[in-house]
Symmetry: C2
Subunit: 573 residues, 2 copies
């Protein structure tokens, strides 16, 4: 068997060869300085014509409307996004699978259907959609960054791929992820939110390439931010949609377990059903998020995936029937989680949202978090319960080292090396011990529900708090390798709350100055304080998470729209 | 610490002392022959007056209507059912906790509310409701048949108890269960459906006391069949609602995971979240089943229990919007599961249902089961994954032996002794091994969904089969200790299908003759064939299971009504 380094190098070379010469950036267009904002290069490099720029700068609603009337063909829309995706890839390394011919053929087929029948193939007619690498597409690889899985071509589509294609979507690229989808180091410290693997390498942040895109759906984050795709799908087990959405400044929704069908995807930690990974959308508008979710749910995924929840799309819930019809809502802001105080730009983002909501006539109170450290530990324990056996089983196939690893390749950036202290992976515990973790998790969820319900005494609306507004991380995008904590996202996975990332602003070195030290909660809090530097973080997107209840996706999107609209006032002002 | 035998004996003596003298059956009214049908004794013993008989023979709809108008006070209704429950207990040993004074005080309180306000306290105003022992009621014990837990008084109500009480119900008795809620013997053979524990002893079948009531909600089955309660709640992890409902000839619904809130109940195998136990209703009418479920769901249990599914009661689904509005349905009958051929009366029950449905204008095709043995094994493996550690942890507290046990007490009927070969309990496996079982389970569920969806080619309705009609067991109620297989119910727990038991008929020794031997699937099939004897099984209820999809409780109840109505024609004819 060929050594893993050779397999990885071959795969990467194949990928490079798939990029058409005419879509290749001139050397002069690729900035030498790592810190550069590359997000505008698609507009300035000259590879996209005016119409292609108009197409790729349009949002999902406008695209679908023009595709449905035939004003824009799917071929032209798909070509425009493909070119921009390939440009984005050359700047951020955001793609895995590239299949231009196949996607354009599919687009043409949809154009023919529209011409012949006068009707759209479905609600996503002609729309290019990008997929995180693990979402299987028949005939394509889903190696998921594992060298061992290079050459594994999918026999069939995942259920979601089928639903999207039946709805008229054009699947056109697959996007980058880290090996194992996350990096579990030891039983307490679970590292997520980076984007490196041995096959495709790492993805960078479009707004500042010295910063990470976040992970594990980091390719989606970077691609969407570059407007290389109008709608993308990622997965989230501890923040893997929300961290890249937050770091790259896009919208990103983590739906509740089973709202979006997962069947037929490749995954790590398969059978870990305690806190399951979920699929969810990335887009540059909430319309994109809503269109995705409604389309998928209207396709009755429970008839295709037994784990998909039989719950129809509810216009009633979207119209906020459970939230006073959207009038005079009461939001609660979580300024910090009691473990790590967020950096100054994050706090400024929360303040902007607070002002916007107050100006729009809503109430805003403070959220007092409880037991976030326990929830974070609980999730880490559950993942670690069988992770070592799982990763070893896969990587052992070709002798590829698990990252963090003893033998580091020279091409791995030094910042991705984790201290040796983290390299011991905890052995599996017993099923009975896992059951005890489940008991603990259930109690934590019961307590948090009670905490939320008890706010009915504080809101003045007769209801408990309608949604929580919280940071997605205690920082904006950080330098590669520095994304060391996932608790701001992971707690909502444990609780299975429906959670949406909303872009707010960007780091402004002249405004977001470092603050005087506070009384640190712990060593990690101090470390986090120490790494902040307004210059290093310049231009990084600022976002918030809007947190709703389990299986309340419709209301979360609607409340997101309220926040979004309110913010537009503040941003203009 | 007192020895476990003393604790158990004391508890049993306390229970005996709580039975009022005036509600005690005369010795002459207690039949000496084990085989006797005791179901009519409440009508003949003279302890209930005519009005009490009228009350206890009424169904839930009629009771609620008369309670709401004040025609019957809750005190009179609760008293009538309590007397009948106590009579039932003396004949079948169906109760655990008895608390007459408390229940009657609560009933009077509800009467006062109605008199004072003119309004009912809720949709269950004044209705007595029985609960399986594990459902916590503040101030009462939930020892669940574990000697170790005798004297554990609940600090608070379970969420369901709260919901029922807020709806106006009068919780009035708790009902008997087996130790551990099931009997896990070794990794493949999982014994469920018996009803014995060291504290309260075993529950017998009202229609033939030589037969078992089934378990683990055996107390509910016997009590409801004796009309000692109009509405009861049990739990089901592998058949524990449906087996006693089937053996005792009542309606019983196993809802999907999370449709009814479980929080705050006592349980065994806590943290075993792979195939969770669910709560569900028993009643003598489908109106009782529907009233329970709609009341519970309308109370928004997801705001009280984080594991309760946020899915409202859907009248649309109840009106069979997903099933052609209930016209020209197509049912599939599973005559056997390919593992054990059911006894003659079970086949006769299926034939009655088939004829009734055909007469009513519906289609009926055959169901070809697939991989039921694999599903049965999968569930057994999952339970066994940590069961030994779990049971030992509890029983070790007082040295009580786990049943099946090495040291058998003389008071344990010999038929409850299980061969020594079964006494080895498998040690826990690793969490990683449990994850592999989850993978297997997911694939089995995906395959079964596909199997179901593929029937669209056979139904002629344009839809897949609307529901499956299947046996609840390969036999009617069997002699104590002979209930050796749970696969006819367990498979639906693995699949999480919403499943309803519907009474059809009773064993008639003159009709349900033994058949000539068939080609046996295996040794168990032969053993099952051999135990059938029309005389020994005389008078045992015959039922079927109606099996629908996950989270489709509304449609399952509505289709149950269609079957029920159709059967009334056949039964009269």
């Amino acid at each position: 068997m060929t050594g893993w380094r050779t397999i990885a190098a071959n795969k990467k070379a194949q990928q490079r060869a798939l990029i058409p010469k005419e879509w290749t950036l001139k050397q002069a267009d690729i900035p030498q300085k790592a810190e550069t904002d590359v997000s505008r290069i698609p507009e300035t490099c000259g590879l996209l014509n005016e119409r292609e720029l108009q197409i790729t700068n349009s949002d999902v609603t406008e695209l679908l409307q023009k595709l449905a009337t035939g004003e824009w063909s799917s071929l032209s829309v798909t070509t425009a996004f493909y070119k921009r995706a390939i440009i984005a890839h050359q700047l951020t390394n955001c793609l895995t699978e590239i299949f231009i011919e196949r996607a354009l053929a599919r687009a043409s087929e949809l154009d023919t259907i529209l011409q012949r029948t006068g009707a759209v193939a479905g609600p996503l007619h002609g729309l290019p959609v990008s997929l995180k690498d693990q979402i299987s597409v028949k005939g394509l690889e889903s190696c998921m960054g594992y060298v061992s899985w290079v050459g594994n071509f999918a026999d069939s589509n995942s259920v979601l791929t089928d639903i999207l294609e039946n709805a008229g979507a054009v699947i056109f690229v697959k996007t980058n992820i880290p090996q194992t989808l996350m990096v579990i180091s030891h039983i307490i410290h679970v590292r997520i939110g980076r984007n490196y693997n041995h096959v495709f390498g790492r993805t960078s942040n479009p707004y500042n390439r010295s910063l990470t895109s976040g992970g594990s759906s980091g390719g989606e984050g970077a691609l969407i931010a570059m407007r290389g795709s109008p709608l993308g799908v990622g997965s989230d087990i501890g923040g893997s949609i929300r961290i890249p959405a937050a770091f790259c400044g896009t919208y990103g929704l983590r739906p509740s377990y089973g709202r979006v069908p997962y069947a037929g995807c490749v995954n790590s930690l398969e059978g870990q059903d305690s806190v399951p990974s979920v699929l969810g959308p990335f887009s540059n508008s909430l319309a994109g998020i809503k269109t995705f979710l409604k389309t998928v749910i209207d396709a009755q995924p429970w008839l295709k995936d037994p784990l998909a929840v039989r719950k129809r799309w509810s216009d009633d819930e979207y119209n906020l029937a459970d939230h006073g019809n959207g009038e005079n809502l009461c939001f609660a802001i979580m300024w910090d989680d009691g473990i790590i105080v967020p950096h100054p730009p994050i706090i400024r983002g929360l303040e902007m949202v607070k002002k916007a909501l107050l100006d729009a006539g809503h109430k805003v109170i403070d959220w007092k978090p409880s037991k976030h450290a326990e929830m974070h530990k609980c999730l880490g324990d559950i993942w670690a319960a069988g992770a070592a056996d799982d990763y070893s089983a896969v990587t052992a196939l070709v002798g590829e080292p698990v990252i963090p690893s003893m033998s580091l390749e020279s091409e791995i950036p030094v910042v991705d090396i984790i201290d040796n202290v983290d390299t011991v992976i905890t052995p599996s515990v017993s099923a009975y011990q896992l059951w005890q973790m489940h008991k603990k998790k259930r109690i934590l969820r019961e307590e948090y529900l009670q905490l939320w319900e008890n706010t009915v005494r504080m809101t003045g609306t007769g209801r408990a708090v309608d949604a929580i507004i919280a940071p997605a991380a205690p920082y904006t995008a950080v330098p590669h390798g520095q994304n060391k904590t996932g608790q701001y996202t992971m707690v909502w996975n444990v609780l299975d709350y429906s959670t949406l990332v909303i872009p707010v602003s960007k780091v402004d070195s002249s405004i977001d100055l470092a603050k005087a030290p506070h009384v640190f909660y712990n060593e990690d809090d101090k470390t986090n304080y120490d790494i902040y530097n307004p210059v290093h973080f310049a231009n990084a997107p600022i976002t918030v998470q809007l947190v709703g209840r389990t299986l309340e996706e419709e209301a979360v999107i609607a409340m997101g729209e309220i926040v979004d609209t309110a913010l537009k006032g503040v941003k203009v002002a």
